[in-house]
């Protein structure tokens, strides 16, 4: 018992010392940054987590732009916690005195409003992506709320479904793996699948199951679906690549890899590799590298007065970005320019990937 007491005590002392040290360290580090912030704005990226490939690439894109523009860049991670996400952004606004450009993927739909309001109040420039309430519009917060970017989930779901149908010869049974039921992306991509099915009556949807975006769940699910439908399964539609890769491994365990084509969304490396080997028929990506960099570029150009957000047309304020399709035809080139080396993006081409205003 004596031992454990001493241990506890020494623990608390070292903890205190550590805290003091950390506070002192943070203070010294923070000082020159605040001074520097007086002239050039700080670029801030706010994303959900670094533990998924998608946001990891997002951050690389943001850093690439910051390096190109010669600006300071900070990444805030909400870890799926809305309060933390908003609080971190407010702390950054206070620290930079509002002299910052924010590119945010809000953790949840309602989060966008407090984030935009805080930025507008502090005079910072903000671009949001994916999530915002329907009644929140950039034009209501001129000039601070520059743009909102989304990718058309219906189009993605439909495109990959059509490629899948073509690769199995236009007829036969398929199974579909959906994402987390309540998320917009899952709902929209399924709508796209439904639209493609309606246009192809010879394709039969054997079953639609939900694997919550995860490869592990898709792996188990696929095994069970193989039991139920066996050789009737000619193709697999997955709402994201991670689930698609889980299904692929389940096929591999049954010696079916490459015989039953899979399609997915996101363009993660595993899927790109699988497209090269022919195990995936295609994947489509919103290009997180572009999202991470261009979101900052649009905000920064508005901030330094290159363009006036208030004078931009509606399709520059709330728009669908252009998704990149990776299929057998272009996978080698994509691999060379995006996987083996960092993609080259023209950061001056702010509106090059606008495909149209967001549906309301």
């Amino acid at each position: 018992m004596q031992d454990s007491k001493t241990l506890t005590f020494s623990g608390s002392v070292s903890r205190r010392t550590l805290m003091l040290g950390a506070v002192a360290g943070a203070a010294t580090l923070a000082m020159p940054r605040v001074l520097r912030a007086a002239d050039k704005p700080t670029l801030v990226t706010s994303i959900r987590s670094l533990s998924n490939p998608y946001h990891a690439v997002w951050k690389t894109g943001a850093e690439a732009y910051a390096k190109w523009a010669g600006l300071e860049h900070v990444t805030l991670v909400s870890e799926g916690n809305s309060e933390k996400g908003i609080a971190d952004i407010k702390a950054m606004l206070a620290k930079t005195n509002g002299n910052m450009v924010l590119n945010s993927d809000p953790n949840d739909t309602p989060d966008a409003r407090p984030i935009v309001e805080a930025c507008a109040k502090a005079g910072a420039y903000v671009v949001t992506q994916w999530n915002k309430p329907d009644d929140l519009h950039p034009k209501d917060f001129n000039p601070n709320y520059v743009s909102h970017i989304e990718f058309d989930g219906i189009a993605s779901g439909k495109t990959i479904a059509e490629i899948l149908f073509k690769s199995i010869g236009g007829k036969g049974g398929i199974v579909a793996l959906g994402g987390l039921i309540s998320t917009t992306a899952a709902i929209e991509r399924k709508k796209g699948l439904d639209a493609a099915l309606a246009a192809n009556p010879d394709i039969k949807l054997l079953d639609f199951q939900v694997a919550n975006w995860k490869s592990t769940e898709a792996f188990d699910l696929m095994g069970n679906l193989l039991t139920r439908f066996g050789d009737d399964i000619k193709g697999i539609w997955a709402a994201n690549d991670d689930m698609g890769s889980g299904a692929l491994e389940a096929l591999r365990a049954e010696n079916l890899a490459g015989k039953v084509p899979i399609v997915g969304v996101d363009g993660i490396k595993t899927a790109v590799d699988a497209v090269r080997t022919g195990e995936f028929a295609c994947t489509v990506t919103s290009d997180p590298f572009w999202q991470g960099g261009m979101g900052l570029a649009i905000g920064y150009n508005a901030k330094i007065g290159k363009f006036d957000p208030a004078k931009e047309p509606p399709e520059h304020r709330e728009f669908y970005g252009k998704a990149v399709l990776i299929s057998h035809d272009n996978v080698e080139e994509y691999y060379k320019t995006n996987v083996e080396s960092k993609p080259e993006i023209d950061w001056n081409d702010l509106w090059g990937r606008v495909t149209g205003a967001i549906r309301t």
Binding site: G11, N52, G223, T227
Partner: protein, 346 residues
């Protein structure tokens, strides 16, 4: 180790008899009382299998049974480790963190598509060792710093997760070592090697529980820690050993998961904690400790796996599958736990 105390408190039992305790008591009496109860999880499993087989004969196809065994492999190995902790009356929340560390270690040290390492089966040993060390630290933190296992292992969960996020750089890394992938892809006597590993883990856990001093001490601590301490058992040492043992099993599970998925990413463990705890509890091991064991857990894992498989075979809509799962958990626990003997339900 459970001591039958019923005769001693029978008087007070009658005094406390209310509607709440009366009804389960009656049902229990109807089926022959406690002996039946200990077999309840097995009965649930059999009934479940029969019902699903009637609805869809594909269920008892050999191919499907192999698939069932395959998807039970990782949960079974995990639940073996967790059983010892729950038997002690503690909880180990670090399942997902430890699993992801172990999967991360094996992928980064064996042939992969992110670095030049190729240590083959040494990577597997290192991964299991990493899992064991994580468990050991949980045990030390709990006993030396006197932090409840709930908080200590919650901390280890996040430490493990953070470590793998950092090491993997947030992306998914492929496992290219063919001999390790054979754990999932190669078959012996018709079953993937991963299933044999899980069976081995079960055998090991059964031996530890029923034939070693450590196993009996773990059960004793769960029954009554004070009495155990007074009987001269070094409770601290047993606790540390139990957590290290759990980490060892989580480490094996991490290797199996990486081999099955052919890749590792930080969230490879997502959802595994809940599945493992469910399996242990549905099998009839009490969360309060001291009751149940690895055989119960085997049945619990099979119930959960068969249920997931059966719902797909029956074509139950994904929108209500979770509801069915919840109902089954409540039903299984209601049948297997002797709640008449529980003085307090909290």
């Amino acid at each position: 180790m459970t001591i039958d105390t019923e005769p001693l408190k029978s008087v007070s039992d009658i005094e406390r008899t209310t509607l709440m305790t009366l009804i389960p008591g009656r049902i229990a009496a109807l089926f022959g009382g406690r002996r039946w109860r200990s077999l309840a999880p097995l009965a649930v499993l059999i009934v479940l299998c029969v019902l699903i087989a009637i609805a869809n004969p594909n269920f008892i196809e050999l191919r499907n049974l192999v698939r069932l065994a395959n998807s039970a492999a990782v949960p079974l190995t995990l639940a073996m480790g967790l059983t010892f902790i729950i038997l002690m009356g503690s909880i180990d929340l670090s399942v997902e963190g430890t699993l992801s560390v172990s999967a991360m270690v094996v992928v980064l040290l064996a042939a992969n598509d992110a670095n030049g390492n190729d240590y083959g089966w040494w990577a597997v040993l290192a991964a299991i060792a990493a899992g064991t060390v994580m468990g050991l630290i949980s045990g030390l933190v709990q006993t030396m710093l006197r932090i409840p296992s709930f908080m200590a292992t919650l901390g280890m969960w996040f430490i493990g997760l953070g470590l793998s996020v950092y090491m993997l750089g947030g992306s998914a890394i492929r496992l290219n070592d063919a001999s390790i992938r054979d754990l999932a892809l190669h078959r012996f006597l018709g079953l993937p090697l991963a299933v044999w590993v899980a069976v081995g883990a079960f055998a090991l856990a059964a031996i530890i529980q029923y034939h070693t001093r450590l196993g009996r001490h773990i059960l004793a601590i769960g029954g009554d820690e004070d009495v155990t301490k007074l009987s001269g058992v070094n409770v601290t040492r047993v606790r540390i050993a139990a957590f290290a043992l759990a980490g060892f099993f989580f480490g094996i599970a991490g290797v199996l998961a990486a081999a099955q998925l052919g890749q590792s990413h930080a969230v490879i463990g997502d959802g595994r904690l809940f599945a493992a705890v469910t399996a242990v509890v549905v099998g009839g091991t009490a969360l309060t400790g001291g009751e149940g064991g690895v055989v119960n857990t085997l049945i619990g894992v099979l119930i959960v796996t068969v249920l997931a498989n059966g719902m797909i075979l029956l074509g139950i809509s994904p929108y209500i599958q979770q509801t069915v799962q919840g109902l089954m958990i409540i039903a299984a626990v209601a049948l297997s736990l002797d709640r008449v003997r529980l003085k307090i339900v909290k």
